[in-house]
Amino acid sequence: MHSGRAGSSRRYFAVTWLANNMDQAHIRNFSIIAHIDHGKSTLADRLLQITGTISEREMQEQVLDSMELERERGVTIKASAVRMQYQAHDGQTYEMNLIDTPGHVDFSYEVSRALQACEGAILVVDATQGIEAQTLANLYMALEQNLDLIAVVNKIDLPAAQPDEVAQEIEELIGLDAADVLQVSAKTGQNVEQILEAVVRRIPPPRGNPNAPARALIFDSHYDSYKGVIAYVRVFDGTIRKTDVLRLMASGAEIEPVEIGIFNPDMQPIDVLTVGEVGYIATGLKTVRECRVGDTITQAANPAPEPLPGYKQAKPMVFAGFYPSDNDDYNDLRDALEKLQLNDASLVFEPETSQALNFGFRVGFLGLFHMDIVQERLEREYDLDLLATAPSVEYQVVLRSGEVLTIHSPADLPDESAIAEIREPWMAIEVFTPEEFIGPIMDLVTKKRGIYTSMEYLDQKRVLLKYEIPLAELIVDFYDRLKSATRGYASLDYHFLEYRPEKLVKLDVLVNKQPVDALAMIVHQDEAFHKGQRLVSKLKRLIPRQLYEVPIQAAIGKHVVSRANVKALRKDVLAKCYGGDVTRKKKLLEKQKKGKKRLKMIGNVEIPQEAFMAVLRLDDDD
């Protein structure tokens, strides 16, 4: 979660009241949850406006999506907490702590942590789309936390909106009374104030004991070079003062806070956070390991006997090697990963070495989009140039000795002769789709080794399809293909099912006769030949011609299944270079040199980043 624009020095006009702590009965903590793009962040905009938290001048669309990447891609990546003040129709003033959450399935860990800091949730459903996969997934998470729900149908301003039908769908699928479903437009602001009234009436104030020893749950954090680790907290019991000596219960670290404060949405210092409130504690800690998301902060002088339950660590689905393009940046990369982990609690990593790429890290992600975002954030926020290997899943390898290994990288697969069995993760998936796409979806799933489980009609036109499918197939390009096969109408949710033994083999890739560990992949035996061929022809196209001819081979054990040669480069010269061209030609050469630098030298062959990702696109028809 981030604090809107953490660290910025912007000031808002309505700050005085914020510093006054509310009595518990007048506090409401809630998250906004929904399927991706159903309008959570836009709704948050309207709530911030109505409550005067943000001035008209400072308002912009999806103002809580403050990260550059979020704005560029138009998608929420981090949950954002913000405190608002609302003068309700009952004449009383309420302090509302809102958390806007991401909708993309890869960021559901953000949602789950946000929900744990709340008593209620606003479930938003797009009036033109109806209930989709993450609508239900997020709903179940909220129910698991025993949160009170307010269902909202959004985008009623659109001509294609069917608010009554969607409200009906909510009643049938979710069991909330259609009459209680609010119908709003986050874009125009129509009926949005009803949501705030509903929050006051339908979401309970925080429980918790104001007089007990303090307990504050760290639900997120980020690193600030001046103030150290900033912990984002929800106070469950007692009070936290700026002057207190505090203790992190799991790590045992004791701190004197540099600052405590709230998000409105910028960070604004205050003196006290009391029971039920959401805010931040600037710990001053420079080492990131002492302050973990999920830990409980208490007073050193009067510690709570028990920490709060904390969080289950997110379980990474896919793993990839991240290597600095320049080997000298290894320590910077480790530092960056540690700092980014503060702001992305689902991130896990461990050091890894590769013969081809030297020293790097095996990083675990919740999905490919997550991987993409992490790579971009590392490159932008920490100014690193990275090389990522193709993602892989986690395999269980049963050795003949009976020992079971868990491996995250094809390179770690032991010798074939030692292996009794390889098991791969299988997932249960749910696809929500208009019925006309059942055929294409069936084809797609079958092609990806999937197995049909069941189908149920949600209404006359929409169905819910259930399948089982190997995760390795799911991560490759399943989602993109599903979207294109259904013109974007289908949505997908998945969860881990079990490990199943499969006939899997390791496909080695040899470049210039040397095996390149970072290009190896684990594939199903039946597909090994075909995939080997596709991979070799793909690599042949991606590896630029070099001064020597470069043979590329795919092999299973000693058996070469495919080969091709990248012909030696013959002509690469600026034909013309006279007096007027010197500077321009030098620039061209510099550009060419820069491009060359981005290639990774493996043996004496230069390989581009895309080659390591080639395995992701083996089904392309080009």
């Binding site: 020597y548 007096g579 007027g580 050469l589």
Partner: protein
């Protein structure tokens, strides 16, 4: 020994240019009747009415710049654009201006670029005015290719031009040809080159076609109207031309240039030896006093700026100068390698490098050079010169990059 001897002051690529080193003069004529489809030069069509005022401005600029120096000039080059659009009397007046300004010797090489369609060009008048070398834009002997390039001439125009030039007393003629063009086959190229040889030129330049940004070719490539040329085929064409020209008695002296003995272009050599030259006109480049500079692109702006200039500026600048880059020692070294290695005949001399920069070539570039030698792209020859190998000539960029 190599074709160029050390008694020639312009011959040694490496020695530091003394402050009185002779200059080459480049005069840019930015006018063309039609913009050829592959051309990315600074040229303008439908501006012919500007030619006379432009030439007047050119003479004024020459005088203004020359006021800041007492150096001699060893060459004048009218490049374009299409210098053959300029009436002979203007050329004469301009050469006279050069002579007044720079002490042009009789031996000075004076080149004019000529488009073959200029049937009524007063060649005898140009010769009398002092022009002693013509560079003729032949490009291809094939109608279909000339059409694709939007050239305005035919092969018989080229033949006619060469005959007339010889009759007018020109003993130094160069032909330009394009290879590696879209849809060009090896056979088409061989025919063009043979047709060029049949005209018995003194000098030949071959340009491998590059599809530059902003050209018609670039648009056509994107729309699929022309295919991207095959670089391996272009390599075959180059190799064949290299052998054919050697057999015909031409010496290769630069990656893209061949000449009969003694007919290498002295003006162009100046560029590759990183020796000083002045650029006059719109969009012209110069390199003197450790500075690379360029002038404003548009002829209208150029004329206005020069007309408004009242007094000489610091050498080598005129009021038309629009861009300047100071060449520091490191850059000068890199440029000497990148430009000097283009000279396939003389290459870069170890002793000249050391004399010019006070440090040995190996101590600066040894580590960069070693792998290129190992790959067979560069060779240090027993005469103390570093040169591109035959393979290296086609892979020049792979070599040049190492010096940046």
């Amino acid at each position: 020994m190599h074709p160029t001897s050390h008694s020639d002051p312009a011959a040694d690529a490496g020695s530091p240019p003394p402050d009185d080193a002779a200059l080459a003069l480049y005069l840019h004529i930015p006018f063309c009747h039609v913009h050829c489809t592959y051309c990315s030069f600074n040229v303008y069509t439908r501006r012919e009415r500007l030619i006379r005022p432009y030439m007047a401005a050119l003479r004024r600029e020459i005088a203004l710049v020359a006021a800041g120096t007492s150096r001699a000039a060893l060459s004048v080059y009218f490049g374009g654009g299409t210098p053959s659009l300029v009436p002979a009397d203007e050329i004469r007046a301009t050469l006279e201006a050069c002579g007044r300004a720079f002490a042009l010797t009789d031996k000075a090489e004076i080149t004019l670029e000529v488009n073959p369609e200029a049937a009524d060009l007063d060649l005898a008048g140009l010769r009398r005015a002092g022009v002693n070398r013509l560079s003729i834009g032949m490009q291809s002997a094939h109608e279909s290719e000339l059409k694709l390039y939007a050239r305005l001439h035919t092969q018989s125009d080229v033949e006619h031009m060469v005959r007339r030039a010889r009759a007018a007393g020109f003993d130094n003629l160069s032909l330009d040809l394009i290879y590696g063009a879209p849809r060009q086959t090896l056979r088409l190229w061989q025919e063009s080159l043979r047709a060029a040889l049949a005209l018995e030129p003194d000098h030949l330049s071959f340009y491998s076609l590059t599809i530059d940004e902003g050209t018609t070719f670039e648009r056509w490539l994107r729309s699929g109207r022309i295919p991207l040329p095959d670089p391996d085929l272009a390599a075959d064409m180059y190799e064949w031309a290299t052998d054919t020209l050697a057999a015909a008695g031409f010496e290769q002296y630069e990656i893209s240039n061949w000449a009969r003995p003694g007919k290498a272009s002295r003006h162009n050599m100046q560029y590759w030896r990183c020796r000083p030259y002045l650029g006059f006109g719109a969009g012209a480049h110069g390199y003197a006093a450790g500075i690379r500079y360029a002038t404003v692109l548009k002829p209208e702006d150029y004329i206005a700026r020069i007309e408004a200039q009242s007094a000489p500026g610091p050498f080598p600048f005129s009021a038309a100068v629009d861009w300047v880059e100071r060449i520091d020692r490191k850059t000068a070294m890199a440029e000497l390698m990148i430009m000097g290695l283009r000279l396939t005949g003389e290459g870069v001399s170890y002793t000249d490098f050391a004399r010019r920069f006070g440090i040995s070539l190996d101590s600066v570039y040894g580590p960069a050079i070693a792998p290129l030698k190992a790959a067979g792209l560069l060779a240090s020859d027993p005469d103390g010169r570093l040169r591109l190998t035959r393979r290296g000539r086609l892979l020049g960029n792979q070599v040049f990059m190492a010096f940046l």
